[in-house]
Symmetry: C2
Subunit: 355 residues, 2 copies
DNA sequence: ATTAGCACTTGCTCTCGTTGAGTGCTAACC
DNA sequence: GGTTAGCACTCAACGAGAGCAAGTGCTAAT
């Protein structure tokens, strides 16, 4: 999702015009009301008369930075204006101590599970931003194996436990027709642990599949069973895991005027798979990414802004977190929050890793 | 939450009046509009003139079954009317084949985890009812131990795996300061399995606590460690588990007119603990329970109806499921759906149990 | 006891001025 | 030539009033 490249010439606007645009966006972010020339004139530090501002506004409208609901209404910044604002005008606030310490709480005392860490992250983000917040679980494909165990829970059922380096535990039941003793299962897990420890799940999958096409005659019973169980254990059957919180904030906030707007958005949230896809698509990039309105490839998000950042351990990018809010969100506040949260989460999850 | 006991005399209303009341409620459920005497007269099978109906309505209003928004508006059934309707008038529809088979899908092919079963249940209920749907995870206190295992994942961290008879798997990390070998952990889990298999978590907790106050001199190292680890493993630190789906349906449906109504309701949903409590309180009773509007002890649900039923295996009630919808829901449809779902879930979860 | 008839109530909708914020243009100004 | 004051124009929002429709309550007749 590369940022739309606009010819420089088109956006070549002089300093004062820039100032006016900045102030319009600021004002709109603050009030969510169309902003008029008179009001703006008063707010502006440099005194410019309403008439002049009208001229400037007219220019900006022509360049596609402003629209108006009807001829006699004030101007509303377009998505393009917000993009411009975010790119060149906004100076990211440094976070207050208070915000910082709120965010640090995500890995507070006694958080022993990665799942809890991620869920805390969404909760804290939701609280601080008052928007919908998302965190993807560490990608299974790049996860590295820390430990695999098989536990026989009944004659035909085996519980598989997969622990990844990043601290994620996954449980899965396998049905077996033939009888296998717990001792034998232990041998198998010992073998698999020996063989695959520290390898990524993706690698393991591939290698197992390769093994299967090799000449089976060469296998002893242990190896054969290990391959069979391993295949089932590492199958990618798991639904994409996504932690989500605060989508009700959007409902509360009447930042989205129409109830129908909200409906569309909410049903997007219900399709977690789609949201996952959107987040995954942003994962290549680095740092905080911002997708404003029409810039969103996913149709359901065209009336929102998505702000995302990755989290990682020392070796790999593990997942993405993000917030979804109105296009007129307070970027100066939100961007650093997302940024800092991603860093704190990275730290926390690195501490949780086993090395 | 016992059903409010109303003196018989107050509700002693003759057959025709009953019929009118029934029809008013029916009509209101269908249209969500105040119902007037003229309209009702036409709908009624037995021909009664509008004027007579007005008299009857006047009586019903006096008895507290009907209200009206203003003098010249039609009548609206009160919560009391719905209670009367549900208790004595509604004949539960038998479920269509279609509905039955939809519900049976909750335990469709390849559902290997109880968690998935429960989550499927909320999804199916949400789809069929278009309301908010809830399922509580099997109560840990009454769960019986099937298997406990300890896996050492790093020098200081131990992963505990608790498998209950009902098929629920729970993971938990324990930090250990002193070093314990995996072999020793295996001995401990063997011991605990031997000792506590089939006992309820509550019993186990108690017994472990008892053991701790006993003379420690008598312990050998194994026993001492087993008690220590066991205590941590069975600690009730887990957040109450609640599966929820379809609360967005309520948002979509405009059955709740005001957006503020919805906000209150939604923030109730955000406090899962409160919802849990409400559901737990209903668990003593048997069969389908219905709490209409003011009958709800929890304030946030006073504008809703809650319909709940338990699910169970052969031995115990395991948890509760329920739907929350508008007071004017279609009871004839919803009640059998909840009832049947609870039965199918009971069956499915019984099949998942290990015996 | 039931019903027809009628006066009355009340919310809803439509229309039509009025108001006010805001624009666009033109002409004057520095 | 850029900036500003002034003025005519536009258009949503608000409010009052008329007409309408649905529904009630009461009274008198059946």
């Amino acid at each position: 999702m590369p940022r739309p490249q606009v010819p420089e010439s088109q956006n070549q606007i002089d300093e004062r015009t820039q100032l006016v645009l900045q102030e319009i966006v600021n004002s709109y972010i603050e009030t969510t009301e169309p902003v008029g020339s008179r009001t703006l004139s008063k707010q502006l530090a440099t005194p410019i008369s309403p008439a002049t501002i009208r001229n400037i506004m007219s220019d900006l409208a022509e360049l596609g930075f402003l629209t108006q609901a009807h001829t006699s209404a004030g101007r509303i910044p377009t998505d393009k204006a917000f993009r411009y604002y975010v790119d060149s005008l906004a100076v990211a606030d440094s976070l207050t101590e208070e915000l910082q310490s709120s965010i640090q709480k995500l890995s507070a005392k006694g958080v022993s599970q990665v799942e809890e860490l991620l869920s805390n992250t969404t909760k804290i983000l939701a609280k601080l931003t008052q928007f919908a917040c998302l965190v993807t679980a560490p990608k299974t494909a790049v996860s590295r194996l820390q430990r695999i165990e098989f536990i026989k829970v009944s004659t035909s059922k085996i519980l598989v436990i997969l622990v990844s380096k990043s601290g994620v535990v996954r449980n899965k039941f396998i049905e077996m027709t033939e009888k296998i003793s717990q001792d034998f299962l232990n041998s198998i897990s010992a073998f698999l642990n020996e063989q695959f420890r520290n390898r990524s799940f993706q690698e393991i999958r591939n290698q197992i599949l390769e093994s299967m096409v090799e000449d089976k005659e060469r296998y002893d019973r242990l190896l054969a069973q290990a391959v069979r169980l391993g295949k089932k254990a590492f199958e990618v059957s798991d639904p994409p895991e996504l932690y989500m919180d605060g989508h009700l904030n959007l409902l509360m906030s009447d930042a989205f005027g129409d109830r129908n707007d909200l409906r569309g958005l909410m049903s997007t949230f219900e399709r977690k798979g789609q949201i996952m896809e959107v987040l995954d698509n942003t994962m290549q990039a680095d740092g905080v990414r911002i997708y404003i309105g029409v810039e969103n490839t996913h149709e359901g998000l065209r009336d929102c802004t998505l702000v995302t950042a990755n989290y990682r351990n020392e070796n790999n990018v593990l997942g993405t977190l993000g917030v979804i809010g109105p296009i007129h969100m307070d970027y100066q506040r939100i961007i650093p929050v997302v940024d800092y949260t991603s860093k704190i989460l990275s730290q926390a999850i690195t501490r949780h890793s086993y090395d």
